[in-house]
Subunit: 326 residues, 2 copies
Amino acid sequence: MASIKDVANLAGVGLGTASRALSGNGYVAPETKKKIEEAARRLSYTPNVLAQNLLKNRSGIIGILVPALDHCFFSRLVQELESDLYKKGYKTMLCCTVSGEHGEQDYLDMLENNMVDGIITATHSFNDEAYLKSNRVIVSFDRDFQGRIPMVRSDHEGAGRMAAERFIRQGCRKVLNIYGEDAKEGHILVGIAHRELSACLKASGIEVAEEYTSQDRFTMTYYSEKAGECLEKYRDIDGVFASDPLAEAFLWESERRGRKVPRDLKIISYDGTEMTGSISPRISAIVQQIDKISGNLTDILTRRIRGEEIIEDKITEILWRQGETC
Amino acid sequence: MASIKDVANLAGVGLGTASRALSGNGYVAPETKKKIEEAARRLSYTPNVLAQNLLKNRSGIIGILVPALDHCFFSRLVQELESDLYKKGYKTMLCCTVSGEHGEQDYLDMLENNMVDGIITATHSFNDEAYLKSNRVIVSFDRDFQGRIPMVRSDHEGAGRMAAERFIRQGCRKVLNIYGEDAKEGHILVGIAHRELSACLKASGIEVAEEYTSQDRFTMTYYSEKAGECLEKYRDIDGVFASDPLAEAFLWESERRGRKVPRDLKIISYDGTEMTGSISPRISAIVQQIDKISGNLTDILTRRIRGEEIIEDKITEILWRQGETC
DNA sequence: GTGAAAGCGCTAACAA
DNA sequence: TTGTTAGCGCTTTCAC
């Protein structure tokens, strides 16, 4: 590994000059520069980012914390974030908190020890304190830290109302509203959409059943089981509101039991990733705009890294996607 | 940010002593150690990994290059790799090469400039030269670099034969064999399975149609379109062999056209991720064991980082998963 | 058992 | 315009 010192020696100049020539900032005579560049080429010199990082006290890496990639919403979000961060000059460190038993704490430590310049967290599992203790740059997706960490989320209130409106218009009499048990109360904010839905439906005299899914199982196997159980337990429901993969599971499990969708059961999914929009029949959905969410998250993050004080939250608009299930 | 120097000062010792006490290697008197640890706690000292990295000339980060996370095989693989790497003491840097327009080259440069200690590549897009130029640690998934970079892949020969055997036993007369155009020839090795399948079928007097998918589109929208087209184009096929999401698309598109699966069309998917195994009907599949693949990749990688010379390839066994589509 | 000093590879300030 | 020097924060000799 050739160092900048080697380059300077070969070119017959001081290493400060070599540094200026190669990095492009600072005065250096054209011919000297040429010599240095030639020497660098001959030695196939590459600057050691480890040294640059130490000096600048930044790594150029952003940590993304997600429960898992099994869930299509998270894999889409991560892919979008990686792309956006890259465009802004950052590399992405991936941290899945559910898959292994390993700790979120470990990943948070990377903030303290300068491994990452910032963190985008989309996990549900950990206690707030660990996050709030850190004075470095964190941005949250869909999780409320009592206004002490900036957050990005979808317009869940609107989503809940929109879903209710659809079920009502379709003449549903009893709707199953199912979501993660971690969003049941408190600061996982997708719960807002579900609570809003229940409230709206009840206000219109429509019966509501609520069920909750485990917060650390994201496999289709689990979702299929859960959907099957619910269909057995609630034989009289004619509507379901659930996140993408679970909505898909309801679709197949319902058909398999001879309950036609949408004739006997209307399904609306929340997330509306491309996955559920292209299978057949296409699932009707309220869409969380992942590209916008990613844009907001990375925008707030990079601005905070640059020193801006931002604590305001960002609510992303939701959309209706007409499918064939409601 | 308190540095080790601050800790040493507060404890009233030299910074060398503080370093030894905190890192645990080197002699230091118990009471001195206690003083230092106390000082560290008071200042809530955290070692700066950037400095440690520069000294050790390693970052503890592994780069994973995948085309995208849209495809369930890759999102599963990445999740598994992240978990395995974590257990081995490495962090994961995620690099999606298709999603953005940004270059694979950029990520390969990270090897040269010490940003990552090694790379696991599962991409299809780039020319071999860029990889072979690098003398740092690379391990490849399913891509042949003429024996110059160690590789892990599934037993594609066995997979092709197994699929053929199933189609034959089910009495198929014409099978559609569809896969990525990049695997058509050369070094994307999943092509072996498909070529083997075609060869076996033809040898048994069964007709084979081959089709190819784009190598940089992984969305369900695309797969659905493609499946639809094929079903229109080949009205007489009674068997399909395709990767997971595409197999799923064939399932829905076929049913939508009134061609019942498996009565009119037998489907076998290659990959057999959990996703296709749990929807209803469950898709019959030849399973690539992602956990084993990940284990082999990370094992070879870490051993090479430690200095072992490994160039032999690792073939992972495939499994049959009985579903309801063949 | 401990402190001082060198150095990882780089950049930036300061002289020359 | 260029070379020298001082660190970034840490670990590791090497004397004491």
